[in-house]
């Protein structure tokens, strides 16, 4: 009996409520745009197909520390800001919601010039320079979707959306 009524309600939705709603919903509150406005504020931004293709190469790090040992920036930048290249492979490139916290570490990459010492010494041929570029680019994208000037559709039904702090649930 319960199931019958449930199906009835769903049928009502399917035939009447849903089409009506679709009619009166503006395009920016539908589909992909709605999805992005829902989740982009938490830095849950998509990766492109090219990035996806390159991602498996990022996974070769075994935490041997050789890259950190040969990086000339280690010891020159403040220790809590720059620990060496390995953390980019081991930690920073693993999840986009982390990126807003890595601003300072990613900014430290500005001091990383034509030197290729880390990539040349890596026994696993991890493409460290690509990983640096990837994290830098991703942070820029996160900033772009989360900047105050970006157009974000209004909250649903005027309800105050308590946006959680960005990051992994903090």
């Amino acid at each position: 009996m319960k199931r019958f009524f449930a199906l009835l309600l769903l049928g009502l939705r399917a035939l009447l409520l849903h089409p009506l709603r679709q009619l009166f919903t503006p395009p920016e509150r539908k589909g992909k745009r709605r999805f992005l406005s829902n989740y982009a504020p938490e830095a849950l931004i998509p990766m492109s197909a090219e990035e996806r293709a390159g991602l498996s190469r990022f996974s070769g790090c075994v935490n041997c520390g050789l890259c950190d040992a040969v990086c000339p920036l280690v010891g020159r930048a403040p220790a809590e800001e720059w620990r060496g290249p390995s953390l980019f492979a081991l930690a920073y490139s693993r999840a986009t919601p982390e990126l807003p916290h890595l601003r300072v570490a990613i900014a430290a990459l500005d001091g990383c010039g034509p030197c290729r010492a880390c990539q040349d010494v890596c026994p696993r041929s991890v493409p460290l320079l690509d990983i640096f570029a990837f994290t830098r680019r991703k942070l820029e994208e996160v900033d772009a979707v989360r900047s105050p000037v970006a157009e974000l559709p209004a909250a649903e039904e005027g309800m105050e959306q308590a946006q959680p702090e960005p990051g992994l649930g903090t």
């Binding site: 769903l10 992909k32 220790a79 953390l87 081991l90 959680p164 903090t170």
Partner: protein
């Protein structure tokens, strides 16, 4: 001998939740757990707090309550929850040829998810969307071609180990006694009534006895065994579930994939990894001795590959298994079993004072605990109201300061500060403060997961951690890419200092952690995992000489 109102057996999410609720209502409570909190089912699930969308048709009340309770958990432990948007791609039954039936299915899914939207606000969830095929591939380019579009919604992920530990800490803060690594060996009876238990501290070997007016069996897969000690039968239908962890977030969002047998398998971005799961098979073995087979791993990878082919190139870190203590029923397929819970008062079974709880889901633990404690409180004449949905768990009282601020103030990397903030919320400051008083605690034990010595020390001092594997659960030690290659030694050294261990005991801790990690690595060794294993073996067993015979080896 201690006298309690309530003895709770089992340190999973239900046991710790019940202990917390009872303690907060003023019941004198003892919580015992034979291993560690969330060492059983509560630590081997998908780590999701979800709203029960599957009950929408048959029991919308259950969905509503699940969403409501998800909302409560979000309020009491906001730092532990993270949003996982899910994509549900719809593939035609014949590849490349969407039939009318397929289109109707997609439309139906859209309606179904829209019906779920009513409950999303209860847990601060976002409205569903329907994506065209083009939009789907823009958002998730890794999805295979030939889909018809997708519907989306979101749920929350959680660290279940932290959840159980925080429940236990909260129970203690409200006056409960909490004992992990302690096993019930026998019940004390007064006639038929169960009036207490004999306990064995598994680390010290010491036994003692306690009295309790009510004994609650929340042993999960071990519930039948515990009940048997009381001469009572509790039947469950144990269901083995296997998961696989990838080294990083592979997909942008959660994806619901169809396995070869039609079951749903999820790939979930979870903290800084991806978790793929799960299987569901009747289990007849020993819940203390679980292992994962090649078949189970391949089943999961194949399921995801069908929708998201790049998974085959991903680095698989480990595979792990747990047992669902599902309600017993003879006849239905595993997937079709009810996920409902049941609370048994064993007075009618000849053991007054003894209760059991089985079934349920991780997400509904708080409501289940409320129901359980309502029963117990009535029995004991306690009429305090339940407040577990309003009082924050330790660390949930306020958001942590921004990671950048903590990083500057405490001279740790922002990454470590962010991870410590995730795990400890408002207490992150307190954790890092330890390094101000004891400077060597600032050092980083585990770079992969941002675990500082200070966090390990905090956990050893405040969170009932008694071993490195306990620390693994609480702090994510050795849970990152290198699976202990870098951190097992330093962590053993730190624990040796904190607990004044002999070298033998400290090295035994390192060995136990490596064994536990190895158990999960073994079923999935290939590619990078083998290089990692070679490095880890060389570090500990060659350079370190771990496992070499004790005493002077030279003449």
């Amino acid at each position: 001998m201690r006298d309690y109102d309530l003895l709770v057996i089992g340190g999973g999410v239900n046991g710790t939740g019940i202990a917390r609720d009872a303690a907060m209502r003023g019941l004198k409570t003892l919580l015992v757990e034979k291993k560690d909190f969330a060492a059983g089912s509560s630590g081997a699930n998908s780590g999701m707090i979800h709203g029960g969308i599957r009950y929408l048709m048959t029991d919308p009340q259950v969905t509503r309550l699940s969403c409501l309770d998800s909302g409560y958990i979000q309020k009491i432990a906001p730092h532990l929850l993270f949003r996982i948007p899910f994509l549900y791609p719809v593939q035609p039954s014949r590849p490349g040829q969407p039939s009318l039936k397929d289109r109707a299915f997609l439309y139906g899914a859209d309606i179904y998810f829209e019906a779920y939207d009513r409950y999303q606000p209860l847990k601060n969830g976002k409205a569903h969307t329907r994506l065209t095929d083009e939009e789907l591939h823009e958002l998730e380019p890794g999805v295979v071609a030939g889909t018809m579009g997708a519907v989306t919604m979101d749920e929350y992920g959680i660290d279940p180990f932290r959840l159980c530990t925080l429940n236990a800490r909260s129970a203690k803060a409200h006056g409960a006694d909490v004992r992990n690594h302690t096993q019930v060996t026998r019940f004390v009876r007064d006639g038929a009534a169960v009036t207490g238990a004999e306990l064995l501290d598994l680390r010290s070997g010491k036994a003692d006895e306690v009295r309790a007016r009510v004994v609650f069996n929340a042993g999960g897969p071990w519930a039948p065994r515990i009940a048997a000690l009381a001469g009572v039968e509790v039947k469950i239908r144990p269901g083995k579930g296997v998961h696989v962890t990838l080294d990083r977030r592979l997909s942008n969002y959660g994806i619901i994939c169809k396995a070869i047998d039609g079951r749903d398998v999820f790939v979930m971005p979870h903290e800084d990894s991806s978790i793929i799961g799960t299987t569901d098979d009747d289990f007849y073995g020993d819940p203390d001795d679980l292992f994962v087979t090649q078949d189970e791993v391949q089943y999961l990878l194949q399921a995801v590959e069908h929708t998201f082919p790049a998974v085959r190139k991903a680095r698989v870190l480990r595979a792990w298994a747990g047992i669902r203590p599902t309600l017993y029923a003879y006849g239905p397929l595993e997937d079709a079993l009810s996920r409902d819970h049941a609370i048994y008062d064993h007075e009618k079974d000849g053991a007054p004072g003894f209760f059991s709880i089985v079934g349920g889901k991780l997400a509904s633990f708080r409501a289940m605990a409320e129901e359980a404690v309502d029963l117990v409180a009535r029995r004991l004449g306690n009429s305090a109201a339940c407040t577990t949905h309003r009082v924050p768990l330790p660390g949930g009282e306020a958001p942590a300061p921004p990671a950048e601020t903590l990083s500057r103030e405490h001279a740790v990397t922002a990454f470590a500060a962010a991870r410590i903030s995730y795990r400890h919320g408002a207490e992150a400051e307190e954790v890092l403060q330890l390094a101000e008083q004891e400077p060597e605690l600032r050092a980083m034990a585990c770079p992969c997961e941002g675990v500082a010595f200070a966090e390990l020390a905090f956990s050893l001092r405040n969170e009932f951690a008694e071993s490195l594997t306990d620390l693994r659960r609480r702090c994510r030690l050795a849970m990152g890419i290198c699976q202990g290659a870098r951190c097992a030694g330093p962590a053993a050294a730190l624990m040796s200092e904190e607990r004044l261990l002999s070298t033998q005991a400290a090295l035994a801790e390192a060995t136990a952690l490596l064994d536990e990690r190895w158990r999960g690595n073994r079923p999935v060794l290939s590619g990078e995992g083998l290089a990692q294993a070679e490095l880890l073996q060389g570090t500990y067993f060659t350079t370190g000489a771990l496992g070499s015979p004790r005493g002077k080896p030279w003449r």
